[in-house]
Symmetry: C2
Subunit: 431 residues, 2 copies
């Protein structure tokens, strides 16, 4: 058998230790599929004493990850440090400059510096692989880059953050409010002490920016992603969604439209008939729609040491076999400069839930504001009657433009009878 | 740009014409992703005059597909003739012997002659690719061979035949009996005039044999697959399944067990909580379970010109890019000779529905037979009371061995009071 592929792992957190464990545990299977053994020879981490549940004896140890990238006996660098700048970026740059393939699980790094790093990889003629950066163990990057490569993709969307999906699932199944469900997720280790990166949609937006670049052959553009998180979702809206035949999911959606590429992360109402409506708990899903293949749905675990290591090692096996692809699926020169579509141009249906003081004329004011912006109603529902008190009023609309909806909403919000910030949730009538 | 990859398409039926159309319609996207243009230069078909909805002007035309394989200006042969022997096999052999990569959508050919053809491909050092042979447009082969390659897979299963899934879905949604649903599927073109290949499970068994070989790195063994179709499923059993919290699906299941590799195709009761229970109509799904990744579910269209062409062209793009993998994921010498598990060793739960004459002692006789074979009951339900007439009795069991269940069933079937062939459906309590 050929000489082993020597791997250096930069960063021995959960993911790095998982990669080390997987390469050892499934060594025979991996060697057979890779055509040669894959062995970790060096690692970097600042903390040498921590128990990681896996032995680091016999491995060359670096405190400085960038120095590991320069180790002449390391063939490939796996970056599992995390973070947009700092040591992760320095390590990836050092490895690519040294002409070494890089495998990274770092979505933030790729979303923000992906164009620069791809250019660096191109110049050195080496692979920069990132299956683990999006949707954890689901081979979504490979599916879009290779498996569906014959298609012009029209839309890619997904449940890209397991923390949010877990919280929304708990809210629905147990009738919990957001704050309570978040605390439970934190207790179980599904959410960080500072959860903003997940619950504000930023993590999902990083992943969506990567998917959009790959799906549409366009330079990665994290700044163009419209991002909203799930803090504003209430148990009431989740229950009302169910009555209307929907589930509320935090989706990342990338579409090719006549106005450019539309990329956005926000809570959506998804029809119960769509498979993604039933992807619950910490599971992720990616949906790709192509002109020849139709709709393909991929589901699996989006995080955790095992699934993430599975994706990292799949990239290593590709490298060991000599299977290569350009970072964004096509050569840098073939990337198309499609413009970004502004969010104000989004056309679709809306769910609007108001708390209004139950008195004559309120519904007329609300529907008048919608009419003035040419928004037609699909349904309107006033729940309960309590003269003089606040009751929910739920409106669903036919397709209209986001700009019109926003303008109408500003007028509605300013009405005296509207006593809370209205809940506006986009309805995605996915087929 | 590099020289185009010259493709010869052997067989211009629905799939072959679809490949031709796709390569033309998405030529620019495909060239960018493949790093070079991919162009059809020759085709073979006996019927030169048929309207295929796509122009064949300017293509070299062969009546004999094997001669096309020998055309020196053809770089890759796409085989879409179909059939186990005859021109399909001759063409694939001729192309591989001539040192040309082959892309085929022919599951029957691979399931039966896969070992021989893989050896031929190995000897010539060329690719034999078959993404389109299993689950149509779903990139299931690539996912298992590369995307999940780091895992020891414990189980692979799927809804592998869209015709059966369509019929079962119609039976459930409209309360139709099998024969009626089959006729409707035939009218819509979802079933052939002679439907036996699909409804008797043979097509699914071909695909399962391929998946099992790939997932477990084992020589393809179609003969070892236990095959049952859906002709025996009644609307009554589908309705009773729903009451018990299950859906009836024709599944192909491959598992690695202590008794060897278990491969079988038969109708199953699947818990409603499992994603595969909701894959309806002509859609296919493949579920792979790995030791690190957990459960991954892939869904999409399993047949039709567009999805199948999408898979064929994905293989061509891999070939154009120089991305290669051994036919069965590992080198021939690394295939492991795991034995096949006999069906009699299957351990699981069962659903048994009898039509019995409603008279004293019948239930005691039935449950006595089960007890004598150490089969314990999960539930028993007698629906309705009609002294002297036939009423359904439904039994669900705890896990037991197939051999015991078969022996008990033989005794039950022989009871005077049992007036129809009992319906025995395996319950797969998938997580």
């Amino acid at each position: 058998m050929t000489k082993p592929l020597a791997v250096g792992i930069a960063g021995l957190g959960t993911v790095g230790a998982g990669v080390l464990a997987l390469l050892r545990e499934n060594a025979a299977t991996i060697a057979a599929r890779a055509g040669r053994p894959i062995a970790v020879t060096a690692v970097s981490s600042r903390d040498r004493t921590r128990d990681r549940g896996v032995s680091v004896a016999g491995l060359r140890w670096y405190e400085d990850a960038a120095a590991l990238a320069d180790d002449a006996s390391v063939d490939v660098v796996v970056e599992t440090i995390g973070g947009i700048d700092g040591p992760a970026a320095a390590t990836v740059r050092a490895a690519l400059r040294a002409g070494k393939p890089v495998v990274t699980a770092n979505k933030a790094l790729l979303a923000v510096h992906g164009a620069e790093l791809a250019a660096l990889a191109d110049r050195s003629g080496v692979t920069l692989a990132y299956e683990a950066a999006v949707a954890g163990g689901i081979p979504a990057i490979k599916a879009i880059r290779e498996g569906l490569a014959a298609n012009d993709l029209t839309r890619v969307l997904g449940i890209l953050n397991g923390t949010c999906n877990y919280i929304l699932t708990q809210m629905r199944e147990r009738g919990r409010e957001f704050t309570e469900a978040l605390h439970e997720a934190q207790k179980l280790g599904y959410a960080e002490a500072d959860p903003s990166f997940d619950v504000d949609g930023i993590d999902a937006a990083h992943k969506l920016a990567i998917l959009a670049a790959l799906a549409f052959g366009r330079p990665v553009d994290f700044g163009a992603v419209h991002v909203e998180g799930i803090r504003g979702i209430s148990a009431l809206d989740i229950a009302l969604a169910a009555e209307l035949g929907y589930r509320i999911k935090l989706l990342g959606i990338a579409r090719r439209t006549e106005h450019g590429v539309d990329t956005r992360v926000h809570p959506c109402m998804v029809p119960l008939a769509h498979p993604i409506a039933h992807v619950d708990g910490v599971f992720n899903a990616v949906v790709a729609e192509g002109d020849f293949v139709g709709r393909v749905v991929l589901q699996g675990r989006g995080a955790g040491a095992g699934p993430t290591a599975s994706a990292v090692v799949a990239d290593l096996i590709d490298i060991a076999r000599g299977r290569r692809a350009p970072v964004w699926g096509v050569a840098a020169g073939d990337l198309s400069p499609l413009p970004a579509m502004p969010m104000s141009k989004r056309v679709g249906a809306y769910y609007l839930r108001l708390m209004v003081v139950d008195r004559p004329g309120v519904i007329a004011d609300v529907t008048g504001a919608l009419r003035d912006h040419a928004i037609s109603l699909e349904s309107i529902l006033q729940r309960g009657r309590a003269p003089g008190e606040a009751v929910p009023v739920v409106v669903t609309t036919h397709d209209c433009e986001e700009a019109e909806m926003r303008a109408a909403l500003a007028r509605i919000e300013a009405l005296d009878a509207v006593v809370e910030t209205p809940a506006l949730i986009r309805i995605e009538n996915l087929q």
